[in-house]
């Protein structure tokens, strides 16, 4: 039996042997045999000798560099802001655990940032991009693009939602407090 690109496979179906291909996404190798992990179609990369399965079912969410995530600022330290990651931006399925990611001061905004507290405050809802995933506890994020940054900010004095007044400036309509943030262009106050 020989599989070719486009073949429909189910979990455990034999795709080939490890002498032919390098097992790639959604495949696994067992005793020299490459098998499918999920329901989907086979994709053979003859140039790189890779074989993978393109899932036809919904698949569990997985954090990877380049993905946009939504989260909440949990802590703002001197050099890092910690984000409690709630979900992937364009996938509704839950992540396997509640990840915590860090935004380094140099990755928060374009240009020089004197104090990270001028950029993020605890409780802000942010959209960020994953830049590095190492294990489950070492995740780096950045917000230095136009469409990334704070989506919703709360006043540090009265916890009221703030309104956007200018680029990276927010204003509290209740206590007339003015603050600064790295705002996303999609800010909704």
């Amino acid at each position: 039996m020989k599989t070719k690109s486009g073949d429909f496979v189910l979990p455990g179906d034999l795709l080939g042997v490890s002498e032919e291909f390098v097992p790639s996404e959604w495949t696994y190798e067992e005793e020299g045999k490459i098998k499918a992990l999920v329901t989907g179609t086979v994709s053979v990369d003859d140039k790189n000798k890779k074989i993978s399965v393109i899932p036809k079912t919904d698949t569990p969410s997985k954090l990877a560099p380049g993905m946009n995530v939504l989260g909440e600022i949990a802590e703002v330290r001197g050099q890092r802001a910690l984000v409690r990651i709630q979900k992937l931006k364009d996938k509704d399925r839950d992540l396997q655990i509640k990840f915590t990611g860090g935004i380094h001061i140099s990755q928060a905004q374009k240009g020089y940032v004197a104090k990270l507290k001028d950029v993020f405050r605890i409780g802000d809802i942010v959209e960020a991009q994953v830049t590095k995933v190492m294990g489950l506890d070492n995740i780096d994020l950045k917000t230095s693009q136009k469409d990334l940054g704070v989506l919703k900010a709360m006043c540090t004095k009265c916890r009221n939602f703030m309104e956007k007044t200018g680029k990276n400036e927010v204003y509290c309509p209740r206590c007339e407090n003015k603050e600064t943030r790295k705002l996303s262009v999609n800010y909704e106050g």
């Binding site: 429909f8 189910l10 979990p11 455990g12 959604w26 696994y28 067992e30 098998k35 992990l37 999920v38 329901t39 989907g40 899932p55 036809k56 079912t57 919904d58 698949t59 569990p60 399925r93 839950d94 992540l95 396997q96 655990i97 509640k98 489950l136």
Partner: protein, 239 residues
Amino acid sequence: MIIIITLGKKEGSVKRADGRAFDELRPIKIEAGVLERADGSAYLEFGGNKVLVAVYGPREFHIRRFQKPDQAVVRCRYNMAPFSVDDRKRPGPDRRSVEISKITSEALAPAVFLEKYPRSTIDVFIEVLEAEGGTRCAGITAASVAMADAGIPMRDMVVACAAGKADDNVVLDLSEKEDKEGQADLPVAVMPRTGEITLIQMDGNLSSEEFEKALDLALEGCKKISEIQKDALKTRYGE
């Protein structure tokens, strides 16, 4: 005219209460992806059994002390609807359903690549809407289709089937009546490609020859059901 009445004891002539042959399964139907909000789901009809399964996850495991740092945990809840049996079943977990929940999660776990999702949980909810003997096997069979529907990475799809002894004959796939009045029941769950057995239970008495025969029969039954499982996914996602 002479009418000869023979009381055949040969296997081929064994007739069961519902007219099936000794190695005949009840009619079976599986549908994958029936629920909108679950990550994966399946609906199964197996004779008079009607089972609905929903799978969620891998997702965050809130009970921190039960998390495993290096792998996911398969949690399972088997539940019978109050209207699933002739007498009303008192709702809520009881001794029987707690046991079936446990053995179901243990039957499914070997097929899943748990180490891909450390600290998380995969939740399987099995709701028996109507019961007619062999619900644990029906639950396991439907649950693995639901897990495949959820896109959870698996080695194989676990399939379960029972064999047993009724009216002194070893038969496949006991109905409720045969289960209650019969002499033995032997549910078996297996990963059909490798033939690894993930669940085997027995109640009643079987001699060792009868046990061998019943096990072979159950494994044959599993193979047949496995094809129907695959067809369910093919019709949902295939060409």
